[in-house]
């Protein structure tokens, strides 16, 4: 269970609600424009807008065209399933949130708790190719280019490809990308770096490397409260501690560990039944509770 995760969506919600209103007003008048909006905002480099109509992935699944209209469902559900897998993984210190506008873009933040990058809080965005899962591997771009051998000093893009040379459906999952992104900060790899300076420093002058890393971590922290790079109702936003908002939220997180369940199942007062003894496959094998006196 990841309390942070629930809070992050919760706290973002407030804001997005108001945004939504303006949004919805707009959309109401022209639903078609909505799909036009379904593209990635421009990002530094190599941005791939996902406005191409039918992607190979979806159209290939609807060979005879009869259920072509279901294609989008497959894509979105696949991404939803990927997200579910991420949640199941419970990667320590890694949080993601799909964007409001496109399931192909996920916002994330990673907290580094040990090692050279200790105290680092790095926001990033995951871009999933629109022909997922048959395309390339997802891209992961840090909001600020972290000083790291595998992070492009200009674009902030992490070299994901080296770990997923070929993206294989069924084998590769987005949580693996996230796990990889976390790992690079603990096990530093300098071969064929995107940031040769960092690589060289790490090899030759660890002290200098360390101080550069500290600077980089500080820089990232100093921009933590910046407006998100990509405007989106579900973008991850940091704000200074505001007791009026956060105290209560923290309290909730600490006291109700099971809260997400409860929320999710508010409407579900159902409970199943079982009298099967664990390990047994006989019905009614569970022993009767001893009679209270």
């Amino acid at each position: 269970m990841n309390p942070f995760w629930s809070m992050s969506t919760g706290s973002v919600r407030k804001r997005s609600d108001t945004e939504e209103k303006t949004l919805s007003g707009e959309l109401r008048t022209s639903p078609l424009r909505a799909s036009a909006k379904k593209q990635l905002p421009s990002i530094p480099k190599n941005a791939v807008p996902i406005t191409k109509p039918a992607s190979p992935a979806t159209s290939s699944q609807s060979t005879n065209g009869t259920h072509a209209s279901y294609g989008p469902f497959y894509l979105e559900y696949s991404l939803l399933a990927e997200f579910t897998l991420v949640v199941k993984q419970k990667l320590p210190g890694v949080y993601v949130q799909p964007s409001y506008r496109s399931a192909l873009m996920w916002f994330g933040v990673i907290f580094i708790r040990h090692g050279l990058y200790q105290d680092g809080v790095f926001k990033f965005t995951v871009y999933i190719p629109d022909n997922y899962p048959d395309g390339d591997c997802p891209r992961l771009v840090f909001d600020l280019p972290v000083f790291h051998p595998l992070v492009d000093p200009l674009s902030g893009e992490l070299d994901v490809k080296r770990a997923f040379a070929k993206w294989r459906r069924n084998h590769n999952h987005i949580w693996q990308v996230l796990m990889y992104a976390r790992r690079v900060f603990y096990k530093i790899d300098t071969t064929s770096p995107l940031n040769p300076e960092a690589a060289v420093l790490y090899e030759k002058d660890v002290q200098l490397f360390k101080s550069k890393v500290i600077d980089s971590v500080k820089l990232c922290s100093s921009h933590l409260f910046d407006q998100p790079k990509i405007e989106d109702p579900y973008a991850i936003i940091f704000s200074p501690w505001n007791p009026a908002i956060h105290d209560e939220a923290r309290e909730k997180m600490l006291t109700q560990k099971k809260k997400p369940e409860d929320q999710h199942c508010k409407s579900m007062h159902v409970s199943g039944l079982s009298w099967v003894k664990p390990g047994s496959v006989q019905p009614f094998s569970k022993e009767e509770k001893t009679m209270p006196t």
Partner: protein, 998 residues
């Protein structure tokens, strides 16, 4: 649970009966205690004069004088209160025995006792008893101080009660119950008094709660009296929860539990044996169905009472009652009832069992019912297997059975699922060895969904619209929807975003208000006007999002409920039972089913399979199915015969055979339904012999119930009757009901006509053209339950339940519309279970099964082929299809119009009896697990009906051909929707929130 809430009803009632005792109330004018005492003494002096006049019989004048004076005195006594207790707390006085002046006087004079003695000496007529009871009732209910703790009050009261123990006239019983009820209310307020009751020696003997034993005879009474008695008893039960001594006295020294449980038996025996048929779509008992049947109301009252007792009573009482319900009602009465020989009785008892299961809310009681269903053997077969077999029958029995299984599945009970399906899947013998690991795979790319959707028959696809589509229609959601298709992310609670909604708004607005409301905060400006009928029909092609939403909801619900299960059933845990613990499935490859079973069933089955091929093939195109299954018509469906073909002559023959000799040696193997496991796995509770239990029960009850001998005797009698019946019934055919058909050998044509007729959609009723249900008793004949038999030796077997369902599914084009609704709903319900074993078996299309194991996909494929070949052979199929959709939708809407609030709610309790007019809509709406399909069908206009009630598919002909066509066309509609539903379920499984299962 809103199922049975006795206590909530009870509490206010109990309190309400009591006169207000708040101190703030103005005491009567004669408030001065001194004066009151004076007056009281004065009255007493007058009474005393009469009382002391010994010897002579009291004159009538004396009687009325005593009566009047007593009345005044008791009123004063009621108003009496301890000294200084004026308007302060009463609690202070509770500690000591402080009492008011009048009470003191009463005690000193032993006044009440003397009064009663006087009455008893004389001719204590019923009238006078009633008078006395009423006086005490008034006294107890209005007293301003605790009276019962004072012996001088309590002793005469108990004596009076014991005098009234004999059964008597209604007025006396009414007063008695009222007084007892009042006593219970007082005792409930002051449990300490209970001790006094124990220690007070009465004619009833010591530790025997006289209140209690006096109340018991009234348990099953109807009307207010019974209700008061049950309420009162329930108060005592509630007290027992915290007082083991009370609980023990109830279980050891009273016949409460046996009377209650055997009373169910007695009441059951007076239930209608036959449920009046109201239309072809009727398939389960709703409240409005039974509320008018007094015998059923009586039964349900008592069952509700059992439920309530178990809810509040001490575990000792709980356990005893549950045991008695099992051994005194379920086993001796329900068991035989379910095995009655006449179809009508089978239908009735199945529907009753379903009703009971839906009504019981207490886990302990439910457990006993389920244990009975799952484990009890009647005629060497578990009830469960018998019931499973009946799905295979024709007609209403099938529908009632399907409803029962819908109820069972909706319980999300591990034990049920284990017995029905999971234990057959546990050995994983149905999959190729290499595939075993794939059991847990989730299909995250929607491949399964794509497969299911690709099975929508060509003739039903939107691309080939029944009529040229209007051009102004927007293209299907593909173009607009790309990148936007949305279902709300589960963990990320995205609000339904306007952009997402916009794409589906048309659909929502076309739907019933309820469907649109929850997710559309506001329709887009200028929400489109209600579409014409053509559009409405076209809507059916675009309802996928709703299926997704429903699937999501159902799976979440199910996953959440199943978190209490003992194991994940993911192919590893729990392990399939090894050879030692379970001789039934020997290990090794292929493990297969138990050998004894296969030997017995497999062989006759082979023979049986060859036979029916011929007579059928000719005029039922596609019946044998050019399915993907190479073996053609008579293939095994996962080990069992895909029988269920209505109208197979052999089917009925088989039934008759079975009826004649359910236990017969020769036929046994053949007649045993569906490869039910015979050997009872070890460790199952061996049930004591019914007879001995019953005898014990009966022997015991009257002995302990002197006061209630009459009612108990009635029970005994009735029980004997039942016993006798059950003996007759068990041996076959003896008490054939008058409705039993003579069963001449049937010609093929007859069979065919019957098959189509029995499956005739009821739809016409609403249009006023309903063909009266013919008296043909054959319609009630079971087709062939015991036909589908176990697998040939050494073949993996996925269990009788799956076999029967698949067999029935394969036969979809020939099933009636209603059967198909229930059937597809049940399969969808099954598909929502999150256990990987089950999920992979039904929904993983990549899984490679053993050759002999048919997959759901294969079954559906064969249905698809049947429909397509039917469509090809039927020139006007597109038009028929269009009409069928329109009609289904119209029927649905009619019902929505009637009462949108009266939607499914399996456990709805408060709806008043509605029109009994059967309507398709009702059926649709009660299709519990697939609200969408119902909703879709309900979406389109009343058009059809307004148009003058056209029946879409021609006049309601009895002609076999017309009915065959009708069934097939309806099937095409249902089948396509079913595939969408399954596809949505498959997709939703991949995104189940991990929070639900953790």
């Amino acid at each position: 649970m809103e199922r049975m809430s006795w206590l909530s009803k009870l509490t206010p009632r109990a309190g309400g009966q009591r006169a207000p005792r708040s101190a703030s109330l103005q005491p009567p004018v004669t408030a001065d205690p001194e004066t009151c005492l004076m007056v009281f003494k004065n009255h007493w002096a007058q009474v005393l004069r009469i009382l002391e006049r010994r010897g002579s019989k009291p004159a009538p004048d004396d009687l009325s004088a005593v009566r009047n004076n007593t009345y005044q005195m008791l009123n004063l006594l009621a108003e009496d209160r301890p000294w200084g207790d004026g308007d302060k707390d009463r609690s202070q006085g509770d500690g000591d025995m402080a009492c008011g002046p009048i009470l003191e006087f009463v005690a000193a004079e032993n006044l009440l006792e003397r009064l009663l003695c006087w009455h008893l000496q004389g001719d204590f007529t019923e009238e006078r008893k009633v008078e006395q009871l009423k006086l005490y009732e008034m006294l107890i209910s209005q007293a301003r101080q605790p009276l019962l703790r004072h012996k001088p009050v309590l002793t005469p009261l108990l004596r009076l009660l014991s005098v009234c123990a004999e059964p008597a006239s209604a007025p006396l019983e009414n007063s008695l119950v009222l007084l007892l009820n009042q006593l219970c209310v007082s005792v409930a307020r002051e449990p300490a008094i209970l001790e006094l009751f124990f220690h007070s020696h009465t004619d009833q003997g010591p530790a025997n709660l006289i209140i209690f034993s006096l109340l018991i005879p009234f348990i099953h009474h109807e009307g207010a009296r019974g209700q008061q008695a049950r309420d009162a008893l329930l108060l005592i039960m509630a007290m027992s929860a915290s007082n083991r001594a009370v609980a023990q006295s109830i279980t050891d020294n009273s016949y409460f539990c046996p009377v209650l449980a055997t009373g169910l038996s007695a009441l059951y025996s007076s239930l209608p044996r036959k449920i009046e048929v109201r239309g072809d779509d009727w398939h389960f008992l709703r409240r409005e169905d039974w509320i008018g049947v007094s015998s059923l109301v009586l039964f349900m009252n008592s069952l509700e009472f059992c439920n309530a007792v178990i809810q509040v009573a001490h575990p000792l009482v709980q356990k005893q009652l549950v045991d008695y319900v099992h051994n005194g009602f379920l086993v001796p009465v329900m068991g035989p009832a379910l095995h009655k020989t006449s179809v009508e009785e089978m239908i009735a008892s199945t529907a009753y069992l379903d009703l009971f299961l839906r009504s019981v809310s207490e886990t302990a009681l439910l457990k006993t019912f389920l244990r009975f269903v799952l484990l009890h053997r009647h005629d060497n077969m578990t009830i469960l297997d018998t019931l499973v077999g009946r799905i295979n029958s024709n007609s209403r029995l099938c529908m009632v059975s399907l409803s029962l299984f819908r109820t069972l599945l909706s319980l999300n009970c591990e034990d049920v699922m284990l017995q029905l399906v999971l234990r057959y899947l546990l050995p994983c013998s149905h999959v190729m060895l290499s595939q075993k690991r794939a059991v847990r795979d989730l299909d995250i790319y929607g491949k399964t969904a794509a497969k299911f959707l690709s099975l929508i028959p060509r003739c039903c696809r939107p691309e080939s619209p029944p009529l040229p589509r209007e051009r102004d229609e927007e293209p299907p959601s593909r173009a607009r929807g790309h990148g936007s298709p949305g279902a709300d992310a589960p963990p990320a609670p995205k609000p339904s975003t306007p952009s997402r909604l916009a794409f589906f708004m048309r659909q929502a607005s076309a739907g019933p208000a309820e469907a649109a409301a929850p997710r559309s905060p506001g329709p887009p400006a200028g929400s489109p006007p209600r579409p014409g009928p053509r559009d409405e029909v076209a809507e059916l092609d675009r309802n996928y999002l709703e299926y997704l939403r429903d699937a999501r909801h159902s799976i979440d619900r199910c996953a959440w409920a199943c978190r209490v299960w003992s194991a994940p059933y993911d192919g590893e845990e729990p392990r399939a039972p090894g050879p030692t613990p379970d001789p039934e499935s020997p290990p090794g490859r292929p493990p297969g089913p138990p050998t004894p079973r296969t030997k017995k069933r497999g062989l006759p089955e082979e023979g049986a399979r060859e036979a029916p091929g011929g007579p059928l093939g000719g005029d039922e195109p596609g019946a044998g199915g050019p399915g993907p299954e190479p073996r053609g018509g008579g293939t095994l469906v996962n080990g069992a015969h895909g029988a269920a073909e209505p109208g197979r002559p052999e089917g009925d023959v088989a039934v008759k055979k079975v009826r004649r000799s359910p236990q017969g040696e020769g036929e046994g193997g053949r007649g045993a339904p569906n490869g039910a496991p015979r050997a009872q796995p070890p460790g199952w509770e061996p049930l004591p012999s019914v007879d001995s239990l019953l005898e014990e029960l009966l022997a015991r009850v009257p002995a302990e119930a002197p006061g209630a001998s009459v009612s108990i005797e009635t029970f005994t009698e009735e029980l004997r009757e039942i016993e006798a019946e059950m003996q007759n019934g068990g041996v076959g055919g003896a008490p054939a009901t008058p409705t039993e058909p003579p069963e001449p050998p049937l010609s093929h044509e007859e069979e065919e006509a019957f098959a189509s007729f029995a499956a005739l959609p009821e739809g016409d009723a609403g249009t006023g053209r309903a063909p009266p249900r013919p008296p043909d008793p054959l319609a009630q004949v079971v087709a062939s339950p015991p036909r589908a038999v176990g697998p040939p030796p050494s073949q993996p077997f996925t269990g009788p339940f799956v076999s029967v369902l698949f067999g029935k599914l394969e036969n979809m084009p020939h099933n009636s519309l209603y059967v198909n609704f229930l059937l597809t709903g049940l399969v969808a319900q099954l598909a929502c279970y999150p256990q990987p074993l089950l999920r992979s078996f039904l929904l993983n299309t990549n899984m490679v099964f053993q050759p002999s194991v048919k997959s759901l996909l294969q079954v559906l494929g064969s249905v698809k082929n049947k429909i397509e070949s039917f469509a090809a052979s039927q020139e006007d199929f597109p038009a028929l299809l269009f009409k069928a959709k329109k009609y289904l939708i119209a029927r649905g809407r009619l019902d929505w119009a009637e009462g949108p609030g009266a939607v499914p709610a399996l456990r709805r309790t408060d709806t008043l009896a509605r029109s009994r007019k059967p309507s398709l809509g009702e059926l649709l709406l009660r299709h519990a697990n697939s609200p969408t399909r119902a909703r879709q069908a309900a979406q389109l206009a009343l058009q059809g009906l307004r148009d003058g009630g056209l029946h879409p598919l021609g006049p309601p002909a009895r002609h076999g051909e017309a009915l065959r066509v009708r069934n097939a066309v309806y099937c095409a509609v249902i089948f396509s929707e079913f595939l969408k539903e399954l596809a949505a379920i498959a997709q939703a499984h991949a995104v189940t929130s991990p929070f639900l299962t953790e």
